[in-house]
């Protein structure tokens, strides 16, 4: 019943799956330990995640643990069609293909919910929100959800603040082993990757403007500096701004940064960060893109309403009324996923280990949980970190009894 682009791509997808699996030992090790007891037996897992080779390792794993898995894509553009085909070949229901329209994307999400999932694993909050407010689905019996992104969590927070949450959601994104590593190191590298492919220009010698200095922005700023760029940071939070300033970056308002930047990367999760007036004040040839979740950070609509010509894969030349050429990466949508292959598998192994453990936690504990957003339990977070260190043969110290006693003394 799946709907994907091309079932024939399954073999290519399998190759990518094997590559990812070989580099996600933390996750596959946990799956192999759990597979015998089939802890997810009888459960339908509704999934809205980026359909990538790394995700396929999680979904195939969930199936091996006994779940029925139904998946759509967290983003209308980013689905890797060979992976979708491979997943179907493994008995997973998939409703996803690359280059969807907004309404196709919506249709796919509805399809997933029509399978009446027990648990929802979401990336951005679309599926959980739909399960709360869409008439067709708001009577579904869902025991809990998990969420991959800051963006999704912010949406649930707004819902929680108004008392609207109707089942517990674990904020997988807030696990330190997710936020620190996926948002910072993963996106740091995949942003470099995506921009390099889209523009093939030198980072060194250029001023790169990084909008936002959360974990995402920190990772991106650090890696851009590592590639030789002069990094400028824009922020609205004074503490983060001060941190960027102390880390050696120039901090200034967007109105000023717009005039002097060569490359722009939005990392805020906020809307309206690079506005029409900023775009008009930019230098001829400026490159603009976004790695935050939604395509609202840049006024892409304005840009794409100009004279537009695709000059390279994932790069559109937009000629503004003032005659300047501004280049937009992947139409303002997550450049690190669309213009490259997304996070490396080692990073996703951390995130998805948290996802898997959190799904199991929800299943076991949902009756004791309230309709709130929960952090990933500390012991899961530590376990994932320990698994990761082991998988890379890194050894660390342990507190002695004497040290533990010292810690508890005053």
């Amino acid at each position: 019943m799946s709907k994907i682009k091309d079932y024939a791509l399954s073999d290519r997808g399998r190759l990518a799956y094997v590559w990812a699996k070989d580099h996600m030992r933390i996750l596959t090790h946990s799956i192999s330990l759990l597979a015998k007891s089939k802890p997810l037996k009888g459960i339908t897992l509704g999934v809205c995640l980026q359909i990538t080779k790394e995700t396929s390792v999680l979904l195939v794993g969930a199936k091996e643990l006994g779940a029925k898995v139904v998946a759509c894509s967290g983003n209308p553009l980013t689905t890797q069609d060979d992976i979708a085909a491979f997943l179907v070949s493994k008995g997973i229901e998939v409703f996803a293909w690359s280059g969807q329209t907004k309404s196709e994307h919506d249709w796919c999400q509805n399809k997933v919910l029509s399978y009446k999932p027990d648990i929802i694993t979401d990336d951005g909050g679309d599926l959980n929100t739909k399960a709360h407010f869409d008439r067709k689905f708001r009577l579904l019996k869902i025991i809990g959800g998990t969420e991959e992104t800051t963006t999704g969590i912010n949406r649930y927070l707004a819902m929680q603040n108004k008392g609207k949450l109707r089942y517990p959601i674990i904020a997988v994104n807030n696990a330190k082993t997710k936020t620190l590593f996926d948002n910072k190191y993963g996106t740091g590298q995949s942003t470099i990757d995506g921009y390099l492919r889209a523009m093939n220009l030198l980072f060194a010698s250029k001023r790169t403007v990084v909008c936002g200095y959360g974990y995402l922005g920190k990772g991106v700023a650090q890696k851009c500096a590592g590639m030789g760029s002069k990094v400028i940071v824009t922020e609205v939070d004074p503490i983060k701004a001060l941190e960027a300033h102390m880390d050696g970056f120039y901090v200034m308002p967007m109105s000023q940064a717009a005039k002097i930047g060569d490359i722009f990367i939005t990392c805020t999760g906020m809307t309206d960060v690079i506005q029409k007036q900023h775009l008009l004040s930019m230098k001829n040839g400026a490159i603009v893109g976004n790695v935050g979740h939604f395509d609202v950070e840049i006024d892409s609509k304005f840009l794409l309403n100009q004279t537009v010509r695709q000059v390279r894969p994932n790069l559109d030349e937009c000629i503004l009324p003032n005659g300047k050429k501004i280049y937009l990466v992947s139409k303002g949508r997550v450049a690190n996923l669309i213009a490259s292959e997304g996070h490396p598998p080692e990073v996703m192994a951390l995130s998805f280990s948290n996802q898997l453990y959190s799904i199991l936690y929800v299943l076991k504990n949902h009756k004791k949980m309230k309709n709130l957003i929960y952090d990933v339990p500390k012991q899961i977070d530590n376990q994932v970190a320990t698994d990761a260190l082991n998988s890379m043969s890194v050894k660390i110290d342990r507190l002695s009894k004497k040290q533990i006693a010292y810690q508890e003394n005053w």
Copy 2:
């Protein structure tokens, strides 16, 4: 009634005070705004802080705001005697001198408490702990305390867990504008400073072992790498260890690091980090020091019981039974304070702005507060960051109404 080393040093102290004041504009600006209304009038402030030029700006400021100020030193060795003299000349009671014995240090703390302070500002927790458990002082009426260090807070946490706290304490250390900047950037630089003065050896070409990867360790590791060292990190927390590993540092247990390191810097707040067996396994010529609060991180006792000769200011050569020479910086006590001048004034301006605002907050709100440890209120933290950015002419963006609405939406 003060007891200090030499009253004649007052003029030299004044010069240092002026230098610090000129570079602590955030703090002095706040003081000048508040000075007219004398908000601390009638209050006795008991202080246990490092007696440095930066501290003198806070203490003179508190006096200008109306307080009676009585101070001892947070550390028996680090008092700058010229500053102590200058403070006395400004009408502050001081019981502190450099090179105190443990019992002299204790006597000074008793002296401060004998003035029956209303509020205690502490660095390390000695004074607040004494006010709780020392028979002579446990009946003092204290409306609240503030604490500068992680070490102090950990002690109060242990007390709070056993229900022993008898007045509210604001954990100034936990303000982001304190922890992030003082612990990370301040100690990062002052550690380089202290070690350079103590050893005058090259950081580049050497392996520097940084024990602990909290804010302190992060700052130290980053600056050591910035000076060209190959940095090795030891940790007990798997998440921090993983972070260090992803930041490009080598992570290993101390037993292994001890054998290959050239320079050692403990940053843990924990006891027994570099033990006798580690010292015995080190290379001939290794340099060992501590920048954590207490001198318990290294087994200094063992070292100082060997054949010892001071070869440079703040550097002792200890010849071990196995014939190797190990060099100990400032007898295992906070090397960044003892072997250099401590944090630069700009960093202390952030910490002490939090201190000042927190003291005022306690005074105003203590009746509503419980006998618990409180974080610095978020609005104080943001205010200090904003003050700091202003003082350095750094401008940032503000959220628009549309953006605030977006944030609250789902």
Copy 3:
């Protein structure tokens, strides 16, 4: 009479040419200034360069300056077929296509020489060497040559040492504005690009072994560290080894590095750097590739004689007799060119400005020149640097008369 893969790719080639041209302002500015006087009129230019979008800007420019241009590729694998088609559409003779066999590559070089070029512009030394030693061509009247690479120059040096050079050759590679920028910054970035595309794994958390610490190796090491890798350097030159050690990298022999590295990048210009015994001692999963000119640095033959399977574009899995999987990037050939698009245009603009000025210099001065290797004249080098700074709006100081006098005094 050209021979290329597909003439229909011309339009796609034109798009790439325009993108490159827009980002090679230094070069295109010079060309436009010179175009009127047609200084290369009557000259046949024989070219053996990587056929990329950047090269097309040089070759079309040379034609605009009056030359007849005949080109083959510096590498049998790297030709961009759309560019080749575009060049033909502009009236340039091209004998190049991607994926050539060794004998096809040789045939193309012969074709270029059959046009009896007056000047030869070479990349690696194949064409100039053939013009010296191949019976068919050794009577050609050639007034001079230029050379893009260290590898080529080393070959001519060997020839010069034996008195075999029969016309002057300008070592474009030795211009500081070539070596410093192309070899260091250009390859630094394009190596990251190529490896990211080939492997999609995290640089952070891994040990990357960089073989060779010349300009190439320095650039690669710096950028790998900038991406978070722990960099290990191997060298045979004690001064360069010491430099790497002082720059914070670990230095060790290949026999030792082979056992602990995760990623290997050869940058030496030497043969036999990673040998069979090194490959056998590597960890399972190690990734091995080369960015030096020839594919002799790694024992690729050994690897490609094992059980081999292509697991990703430009990445072959080779299963060794000991059961370990070793992954070889682009069959051991220049990974930064084959697995990505090669150097960014801004970098090539520097190299090719030196090429163009050097070709003009040979034409004007060849009668006064001896049959030797010449450095690019200092005034050309300075001019290119000044052009580059101007194109990026970077202003610098000039020596005053007083300062010049000071310089000449003692």
Copy 4:
């Protein structure tokens, strides 16, 4: 017959000598190998070097090799008086003390030449120049000289260009193991050290202007960035300027940098780099200093003619006519030597190994040498690098026969 400040300081000097000797194993190892054969027997060595603990290791070593050693200081301010006393106690003639006037400094140089040295080892070129042009000394029979600094070599180059050199001089400074390591890594660290002691302000958050991007400037810029500063570079050479720009630094003329910098460090070897008009345009509170050889880079005269007050050791507050306070480090003289202890011993071990080998080379080869400036022979340079790697237990690869053959082939 020596003239120094205080003979009683000898014991303190000996302690410093031992510390240095223990960390200059490369040099002391060579000395111990040579000591038996007394190769310098009968030779008088005239020395004009900074009188530091590291220099004492060279001079005592030269004496152990048989030379009569007579020394004055390369700088009127920097002599370490305890070292001078120690040297005298070891039978070396010393004419040096800290805080000399210009005429005292001149007198000391004359004293050294009055001993009729056979070989002159110079730092800055004063002694060699005097031996050429001062009537009293121009008939001295000198067999050769060695020179430690770029500044000195530039002076001899001017002399050589006019045919005025009357004996060969080895440019020790030009050895890669000197220039790369002393100028770059040594001064990089000692500049941080000197400025930290002089100002005790934060490098992070500040704009540090580095004037000059030679080896010295590169080392300083890199270390300042490593301490968190935003680095601005000024240059007159377009290639170096481009390099700084590609390395991630901001490049601009001094007139512009003057207005926005917080800290200034001149590293040029040129006069008039920071001029009166620049000083007048600086921000209130700017810190200005020099680490180049002579005190001509900053218009210190102008600054020291204002209202001046010493606010910290080696830091003068100068109140300009426009009311701004500008702070001058160590009166514009080599801040890294005066405000700190100078280069670490490990770095000086490289320089002084080159010195020692060069002195021996002059002695052995002077009859074959012309009156020219000579580079340190390549085999000496390689030997010093190899000695250094050995002393730090760093192992490297060697070229195989096959590789050497490959290198010589075309």
